[in-house]
């Protein structure tokens, strides 16, 4: 088999590079990370004429080879390193017909690296509307290249790209600009010191602040007979390079590229008047936000419930079908439940990225950044952090994945670190049950106290996110050179294909990337919750059975049986069933219910004496000042998996046999502390709510932060800080209120 042709797709942002990539590779693409950094690496295989194959690498968008961000450094790094396995045999430079002049700057730089380069002029379908005419043949001659005129929207020109790639050996690799003109004296000295080297490559090594080639850089610095220039002088020369390139480009375009401004129609200008308007701009943005919220909160709840139910059914099926034993339990309660815990996030992630990619594809996202930038600045963030932060109010996981659009690493890191403070939907069940328990009914100015409390919790979460962003901005010492500048592309109808790819790709990267960690932690938590070392745990069945024999069922279980029977009787009588039949079926029901009550008491007893239960008890002195007992302590521990587990764990430990919120709530209300007062009172309730507002109780978020920051350092700092802070706030609340 012959070697695949290595192709690098390079281009400015907003030139439709990804569309070209999708068209060339179809679904035969793979998205990963570059080793060691979190820049997305997209590659794929493209079949060319005559049975040849090309390996296509979609490089991050860049305006030039002068780097200011990690993404851009990566492009330069690859193009300068002939030994890289991805070093291109041919570069395909994607440009946009409307911004051709600017796009050609990058093209000339790549060409000067002596890489055979093909020029793709995309969005050819817009030429008529914009009054643009091109002399492609003349341009090919002047640029000494081959050109493909492409419209990814109309699906034209893609075959031409494929032909050109297949025939790449005939593409010229001659440089286009005499780069020594940048500084004849300096380049002369370079040449005499390094006679073997390519001068423009050396020039890039010297001027670019990329850390990838320390050896080469050192070699230049060590050359004693060669004095390099100061940073300022180099910057001056870089300015000169840009000017020289634009002169060259202007000369070429003067004869080959014409724009008839009279024929140009601008949709952008009129849409921008409304979409970035001082009033309407915000109104439209908030309407869109509401829609996104509605989708993540409401619409995704249907598939989520479906997933939830089916995984529960699957677990039950496994338990009933396979022979009982440790392996079956592991499969049903550890693995299946763990996978369920991953799959449950898919609807939210898919919905968020559906909207985000629609907004990005259409060009609207840049307008959001423009509208919100000033508001975010006092917190050390820019307009680019708005969408992740707001999405965090639904779920932190897709929100953190969405921070990839922030080029500035410091801003991105801050956004990742503070997003978990926003009130995600998993906090809601915890808040709702606690509010119903401890916040009195009644109202203030027509708003119920309970609703006000919930709103306050949302505000506290968002406020805390902004506040910590401000603090982090002060203490994080990360040098970032990126300036705030954002291109406002023309509005376009999103290509459904691109949107679809984004959704699939993001979902995949969550499931494969963070899924492993989530699954591992849930298996560990399952193990700790369903195993114990003590005799109490080992003999739970017989101990509980003995207790029931001696003392009967617990008061709660007795009530549970009786209430259910009463309800059944009332119901049956209302339907007019015969008294005898009622009596018989009640007898059966009673047995069934008692059996269930015993099972619940065993489960409760087991949880109490499992490793986690023991840990909860060991932790009791630690959580006592917060107003919790060991049972709540256990619930806090297990809900590290996910916040909503809090409710389920309390249900198990109070041996409530149902997930019915009302039943659990009643049971919680009946729980008394040592003095015979209700355990869940205003002080302990508020303390718990504040704890859940601030604590990093979500292993999935930690997993995704690990993935997005590519180290355990940041998620661990996040976990430590948020837990300590949550503890202190809960402690203060309880001590003041009680």
């Amino acid at each position: 088999m012959s070697k695949n042709i290595n192709v690098a797709l390079i281009g400015n942002p907003n030139t439709g590079k990804t569309s070209v990539f999708n068209q060339l590779t179809g679904l035969k693409q793979k998205v990963g990370n570059y080793p060691g950094i979190t820049v997305e690496k997209k590659e794929g295989i493209c079949k060319l004429p005559r049975g040849v194959k090309a390996h296509i690498l979609d490089l991050p968008g860049t305006y030039s080879l002068n780097t200011t961000s990690l993404d851009e450094s990566l492009v330069v790094e690859l193009l300068l390193n002939k030994n890289d396995k991805d070093y291109p045999d041919v570069a395909v430079v994607i440009s946009d017909v409307e911004n051709l002049k600017r796009n050609l700057l990058l093209f000339t730089q790549i060409k000067d690296l002596k890489i055979p380069s093909i020029l793709v002029i995309n969005m050819a379908d817009r030429m008529d509307r914009k009054g643009i005419s091109l002399d492609v043949e003349a341009m090919e001659k002047k640029l000494d290249t081959k050109i493909a005129l492409v419209s990814t929207r109309k699906n034209t020109g893609i075959d031409r790209i494929k032909e050109l790639i297949a025939d790449y050996k005939s593409i010229s690799s001659k440089p286009i600009l005499d780069t020594s003109r940048i500084s004849p004296e300096y380049f002369e000295r370079l040449k005499s010191t390094f006679p073997q080297e390519d001068l423009y490559k050396l020039w890039l090594v010297i001027t670019q602040d990329v850390n990838f080639m320390p050896i080469e850089k050192k070699r230049i610095q060590d050359a004693t007979d060669f004095s390099t220039k100061s940073k300022d002088e180099l910057k001056k020369l870089q300015h000169k390079e840009t000017v020289l390139r634009y002169q060259l480009i202007n000369n070429i375009l003067k004869e080959t590229y014409k724009v008839d401004f009279m024929a140009a129609k601008g949709l952008r200008a009129s849409l921008d008047k409304i979409l970035t308007h001082k009033v309407f701009g915000y109104l439209i943005f908030f309407a869109i936000l509401l829609l996104i919220f509605q989708a993540i909160f409401e619409w995704s709840s249907y598939p989520m419930d479906f997933i939830d139910e089916n995984f529960a059914l699957a677990a039950e099926w496994i338990k009933n079908t396979l022979p009982p034993g440790v392996f079956t339990d592991l499969l049903a309660e550890g693995i299946v439940a763990g996978i369920g815990g991953i799959v449950i996030f898919i609807p939210q992630i898919a919905f968020l990225f559906l909207f985000i990619s629609l907004l990005e594809e259409s060009g609207y996202m840049s307008r959001v950044v423009f509208l919100m930038d000033r508001l975010m600045r006092p917190f050390g963030l820019s307009g680019k952090s708005v969408v992740p932060l707001i999405s965090g109010n639904a779920c932190a996981i897709p929100a953190i994945m969405a921070t990839r659009t922030i080029e500035n690493w410091k801003e991105r890191l801050i956004t990742i670190l503070v997003t978990p403070f926003t009130t995600c939907s998993a906090r809601l069940p915890v808040y709702l049950i606690l509010i119903a328990l401890v916040i009195p009914e009644g109202s203030f100015l027509g708003l119920s106290f309970q609703a006000l409390t919930l709103m306050l919790l949302y505000l506290i979460g968002f406020g805390m996110a902004l506040l910590s962003a401000m603090v982090l901005n002060k203490i994080l010492k990360i040098k970032s050179r990126a300036i705030f500048m954002i291109e406002m592309p023309t509005y376009r109808l999103p290509l459904l294909k691109n949107v679809g790819y984004t959704v699939i790709e993001k979902t995949k990267s969550f499931v494969l990337g963070a899924g492993k960690i989530i699954l591992a932690i849930s298996i560990v938590l399952w193990f700790l919750g369903s195993n114990g070392y003590s005799d109490d745990f080992q003999n739970a069945e017989s101990i509980v059975a003995e207790r029931i024999e001696n003392e009967g069922l617990s008061t709660y279980s007795k009530n549970y049986v009786q209430n259910n029977i009463d309800a059944y009787r009332t119901n049956a009588e209302a339907k007019g069933m015969a008294a005898g039949a009622i009596q018989d079926s009640i007898q059966m029901l009673r047995e069934e219910l008692s059996e269930r009550a015993v099972a619940q008491e065993i489960a409760s007893y087991k949880l109490e004496h499992s490793y986690i239960g023991q840990a909860g008890k060991a932790f009791e002195p630690l959580v006592e000042p917060l107003g919790y007992d060991w049972k709540i302590g256990i619930a806090v521990l297990t809900s590290f998996a996910a916040r909503e587990v809090f409710v389920g764990t309390l249900a198990t430990i109070y041996s409530v046999g149902s997930d019915e919120e009302e039943t659990i709530q009643n049971r919680m209300a009946a729980e008394l502390d040592e003095d015979g007062e209700p355990l869940f009172n205003l002080a302990s309730g508020i303390s718990l709510m504040l704890f859940y507002a601030f604590a990093m109780q979500c292993m999935s978020t930690l997993a995704i932060v690990k993935r997005e920051t590519n180290s355990w350092k940041w998620p661990m700092i996040q976990l430590g800080f948020m837990s300590v802070f949550a503890y202190i706030m809960a402690l203060m609340a309880y001590q003041i209120l009680s």
Binding site: K101, R102, D373
Partner: protein, 79 residues
Amino acid sequence: MTVADLQYGQKGIIKDFTEHILPIKLLELGCLPGNSVELLQIAPLNDPIYINLSGSHLAIRRSLAALIELEIIEETQAK
């Protein structure tokens, strides 16, 4: 007069700059002496501003805009 001082409907030509304080990125996007700049929109809180820089549609902060000196060439009625 700098880009930050532009009013709605004003268009200017970038003056020759001898000081090399501008980020190179801005040059690459067309901020070169002799090129035109037109103000398109001002964000609700007065910052950033949205300009047409010789064909590139960009939003930049005022602090950066204040570095670009220009000469007014066109004044249409403010919209």
